[in-house]
């Protein structure tokens, strides 16, 4: 096939793309824009400074919105989750000790709020339908070989089609069809960039359980995208 070892290394060793937000578990870097850090704004907010809290809201609302929207699947619910989460954060802020980053703490509050909302909906008579129990996954022969082998590499075509609206719709549908527990973990990790440890804490799971769900969700989505590309 003409694959050099260098090609293989290049393909295999690229890490995940850089995130557009700092990782929640990393120490907060000093800001270069002259703006106060989260820690400084938190300290002011803890003293009752509503304007400082407003700066924190302005800074984190977009990321929290993505999380809430993807967890609930509804803009109206996301709106309510955001309101509830920020109000909770304001009320609980005096007890925040800064042992984790503020953004990480805020994520946990929002994730809990979204999960509680979903649970309430499921209990309602016209609540969400039961989630599918089976996830798509690759198939293997009795010898443990990929069967059928994925000879069609659609990853390059995926780059060309990156911005296609059809692909966007297919991805949205595939993610929405994941069982809720898997979807939540996948979104928190691969879209929002939380650490496995933060996700485990937020969702009351073990880290191995987070990893397992994440991997199975990725495998299922990969199968769906393979179907989209005709692989």
């Amino acid at each position: 096939m003409g694959w050099s070892r260098l090609d293989r290394r290049r393909v295999l060793l690229y890490g995940p793309p850089p995130l557009d937000q700092p990782h929640p578990m990393m120490p907060e870097a000093p800001r270069t824009d002259g703006e106060p850090t989260d820690r400084e704004l938190v300290e002011l907010s803890q003293k009752g400074d509503g304007a400082a809290f407003a700066r924190l809201v302005e800074r984190h609302q977009r990321q929290l919105y993505r999380l809430a929207l993807r967890m609930t699947g509804s803009e109206a619910d996301a709106n309510e989750v955001l309101q509830e989460a920020f109000l909770n954060a304001w009320q609980k802020l005096p007890a925040f000790r800064g042992e984790s980053q503020f953004s990480s703490w805020l994520y946990r509050i929002a994730a809990n709020s979204a999960l509680m909302r979903l649970r309430r909906k499921r209990r309602a008579p016209d609540g969400l339908p039961d989630q599918p129990l089976e996830l798509q996954a690759p198939k293997f022969s009795s010898e443990g070989l990929l069967d059928p082998p994925p000879y069609s590499d659609w990853s390059q075509r995926a780059d060309e089609k990156m911005m296609s609206s059809q692909l966007g719709v297919a991805i949205e549908k595939a993610v929405q069809e994941l069982p809720e527990d898997y979807r939540t973990v996948f979104l928190l990790k691969d879209v929002d960039g939380l650490s496995n440890e933060d996700i485990a804490t937020s969702l009351d799971l073990t880290v191995p359980a987070v990893k397992s769900r994440l991997h199975r969700a990725r495998l299922a989505l990969r199968e769906k995208l393979g179907d989209f590309f005709g692989a």
Binding site: W3, V11, P16, Q61, F86
Partner: protein
């Protein structure tokens, strides 16, 4: 020593995040250097993450920002969002970065 694709696929989650112990990582890469189906599998596995992240990154509607600001304004004394920034789009990673591995 990894002989079968199934073992390779089972380890991929930790592998793409650089969390495999060195010995397992080496064994997996040895398998990958000999198994074209698994190379294709790894590439499409990584593309799945990248595509989902790109597709699911969405802007928060400005009306929703306004609604949130009004709500918090009623409950948080002294709350006032800096209006000049409310409608500004958030900076996201450029396509060139998202198209990597």
């Amino acid at each position: 020593m990894i002989e079968h694709c199934k073992e390779c696929v089972d380890l991929l989650g930790d592998y793409v995040e650089g969390q495999l112990p060195p010995e397992q990582e080496k064994a997996l890469e040895t398998h990958l250097s000999m198994c074209m189906p698994c190379i294709t599998f790894v590439r499409t596995y990584k593309a799945t993450r990248r595509l989902c992240r790109t597709a699911l990154a969405k802007e928060m509607p400005s009306e929703l920002m306004g609604a949130l600001s009004s709500f918090l304004g009623k409950h948080v004394p002294g709350f006032s969002c800096p209006k000049s920034k409310q409608g500004q789009p958030e900076a996201v990673a450029p396509d060139s970065e998202l198209k990597k591995g």
